[in-house]
């Protein structure tokens, strides 16, 4: 039972950006030794609340107390000093610095007035070992994948937090194994009496770890409940304000009949990144790609879209030979690719939602054939509605959107080009349950219309839900393939796990 005295509490928090009210009279109480899930749709205001609690934003109204004392965190440094460790939603680390620097910046061990680099690296190694991560702490952070960076961010926050740990969608790009490790550590911290805030869109994880939930909707608190006795259905209803239609077609992929061959990659390879593989993609087929972190799924997608050029390989599209030198060529062949790292490769932050949505289509047409304003507006409105993108309007700069809504904008950009082959790398990362269902429905519909899809996802449930065929990657090579009824979560896991000694060393 939680202690009656909360460690960190906030009440009456309000926040507006320009005239747009994002939080209105929101409160939250964190008790020692509890894991508190903060839930809500994309754009509900979860990340904003976190940023206010940790001093990254100033709030317009409301009070925050720590151990009963009112506090006014000036900046994040201040919050850190008070024992609040935070992982913000987008990985907010320094890509140009070493892993150790990222873990210890601002609190490096000192010796004779200088930074004790050796000790710092030693500590870093020890710290990361808890997460099963054996990497060189002296290596530059951006030489690692998003997932590894995510773990580094978590390790840093855990290490800093003395009283409160806040995790904003920490598991979005992690696979099962990492999630397990994270949860172990969270349990440990919990038993030490810390309060942990956990934001996620994976309800399974909420039920696995959380003690209580607070749900936000449209910048207001809907309520806080203990998780015990709260049914899944009720929880979703709290979040969405309405019941989610039951997803009846849980295994749609199985029944689908693939159409004719669309694109055929033969003997594709890139040294160090992808072992030679053959891949045939048919119309009306969804190919799921599964694998562990660093198994080379993203690399494969990059090759298929012409971002990296293969060392060997031939491509045939609709019966004709083709070559990919750059993404443009792929787009000319009606390919589309929603990349994994939306901040880096996806959104164009300062452009508006409308411009971001129209960008690929306009590029496809060429700069001399601009879309008319009406056409643009129509396009933007259509996708804002279709994907339920929460924004103040099509003219809002996309960088001000919440993480999940940015992801939807990237999807919209590619759907707008009406592709024949759509490659999605972690398409539902950070997307809420409502939109998640909507996107899966949309993937299905597109497939029914004859589009060919290749979907990379760390969520095996998702892959099994819609794939008509699943490729399993291991160590940058295709380790196996599953079709039809054989596609089950456990079969995929088994395939991933076989021959463990062949994992990247």
């Amino acid at each position: 039972m939680p202690d009656p005295q909360p460690i960190l509490a906030a009440s009456g928090i309000a926040k507006s950006f320009l005239s747009h009210k994002v939080l209105d009279d929101v409160g939250i109480e964190l008790f020692p030794g509890e894991v508190h899930a903060l839930l809500g749709e994309n754009g509900a205001g979860k990340s904003t609340l976190i940023k206010i609690l940790t001093g990254a934003y100033t709030h317009d109204a409301g009070t925050i107390t720590l151990d009963g004392q009112p506090i006014h965190p000036r900046d994040t440094r201040h919050a850190q000093e008070m024992g609040i460790g935070t992982v913000y939603q987008e990985v907010n680390l320094l890509p140009n610095m070493s892993v150790a620097d990222n873990l210890y910046i601002g609190r490096q061990p000192m010796k004779w007035g200088l930074v004790d680099t050796r000790k710092m690296q030693r500590d870093a190694r020890a710290l990361l070992a808890r997460y099963d991560l054996k990497i060189d702490p002296g290596a530059q952070l951006d030489s690692f994948s998003v997932a590894v960076q995510q773990i580094v961010a978590i390790a840093r926050a855990v290490d800093i937090s003395g009283k409160v740990l806040i995790l904003d969608e920490p598991t979005a790009s992690l696979d099962q194994h990492e999630v397990e490790i994270l949860f172990e550590i969270v349990q440990q911290l919990k038993s030490q009496g810390m309060a942990i805030v956990f934001i996620t869109h994976f309800l399974d994880q909420v039920y696995e770890i959380a003690d209580r939930v607070t749900v936000l909707r449209n910048g207001r608190r809907v309520g806080s409940r203990p998780i015990e006795g709260l049914s899944r259905m009720d929880l979703v209803t709290m979040m969405l304000g309405e019941a989610l239609e039951h997803e009846d077609a849980m295994r749609i992929g199985v029944t689908r009949k693939p159409g004719e061959l669309y694109a055929s990659f033969k003997d594709y390879s890139l040294s160090g990144k992808a072992a030679p593989f053959d891949l045939d993609l048919h119309k009306g087929e969804i190919v799921g790609v599964a694998g562990l972190l660093g198994s080379g799924r993203t690399e494969m997608a990059r090759l298929l879209f012409g971002i990296d050029r293969p060392d060997t390989g031939q491509l045939t599209v609709a019966g004709k030979p083709a070559r990919l030198n750059e993404p443009r060529d792929a787009i000319a062949l009606d390919f589309a690719f929603a990349p994994e790292d939306r901040k880096l490769d996806g959104i164009v932050g300062d452009l508006t939602v409308r411009e971001n949505i129209m960008l690929a289509l306009q590029a496809h047409r060429g700069w001399t054939k601009p879309m008319s304003r009406a056409e643009q507006a129509e396009l933007a409105d259509r996708y804002i509605k279709a994907l339920d993108i929460r924004c103040t309007g099509p003219e809002q700069p996309v960088k001000f959107l919440s993480g999940g809504n940015q992801q939807k904008v990237v999807l919209a950009r590619w759907l707008a080009t009406n592709p024949k082959l759509l490659i999605l790398d972690e398409p539902t990362r950070g997307i809420d349950v409502g939109a998640h269902a909507e996107i899966i429905r949309m993937i299905n519909r597109l497939c029914d219309d004859g589009m060919s899809l290749l979907v990379i996802s760390s969520e095996l449930d998702e892959i099994t839900a819609y794939s008509s065929r699943v490729l399993v990657l291991r160590d940058r090579a295709i380790a196996g393939e599953l079709t039809g009824e054989a596609i089950t979560t456990s079969a995929i896991m088994e395939m991933i796990a076989s021959e463990p000694e062949a994992r990247p060393q």
Partner: protein, 329 residues
Amino acid sequence: MNPRYWPLIATITIFVLAYALAVMQFPALFSTRVLGNLLTDNAFLGVAAVGMTFVILSGGIDLSVGSVIAFSSVLIAVLVTQLGIHPLPAFAITLLATTLFGASMGAMIHYLEVPPFIVTLAGMFLARGLTFLLTQDSISVSHDFYTWVRGFYYVMPGGGRLTFNGGLMLLVFAIGIVVCHRTRFGAYVYALGGNAQSAALLGVPVARTTIGIYAVSSFLAGLSGVVYSLYTSSGYPLAAVGVELDTIAAVVIGGTLLSGGFGFMLGSLVGVFIQGMIQTYIVFDGTLSSWWTKIVIGGLLFGFIVLQRIIIAASKRDWRKKKVEAVRA
């Protein structure tokens, strides 16, 4: 080999290669005299380059250094000759003034959220304008202290001199390297250059660091003015016009990215040497007309930078294959 070191190694390799080639053409270039001159003649540039390295690493730029050098040299001259102050307190006053100048530029950059380019451009006008207010004439400084400093050198075998100024530059670089790579301030500088927003979220004191960076840069520009003053024993209001671009070029040639976050202090020293080498080479050649001088300087600059790119690109390809990987137990 950590791939971050490649630009540095490329720069050093190119410098050594170029020097060897130049010596093959003009054997007289291979003497301690030339090396000593390289240190002495580029001392003020080097000192300013240390400050510029901090600025550029943090993703900023400081266009005011040339003017600040001129301002310092003139202020010292005025203090010493017209007010009769001993050079040492004059240096102290000057360094204090320039440090404050830099700190206020940093404060403007941070609190007014104005791009450094513009703030320091205004700083460039301001410092030069203040110099003209002090004097329009060049002023000779003759003081026993200057004579004493001038007599303070070490003769290397071969007749080359390691002068006070040359030594001071090396010392400033040594301190710069330590501060840049081994202190918290140095880490904050890299952090700001990597991503200012993330840095703020990670708890880097952005305001303090920004102000500190520009204060250090102007302090070192002031120190560079001291070096210039000792070097020429005079104050000249038109001194060091355009030195900011030379400094920036030295830093960038040294492998530091102008967008911030990547680079090494030591690289800037090599960058300064490369620039000095180009000038010395052209003097030794002695046949170029005024305009061909410019074209050849541009050409050599081009050659250096392209070579550097090629070496780095080649190393990257190699590195991609052996990319550091996450390994799970």
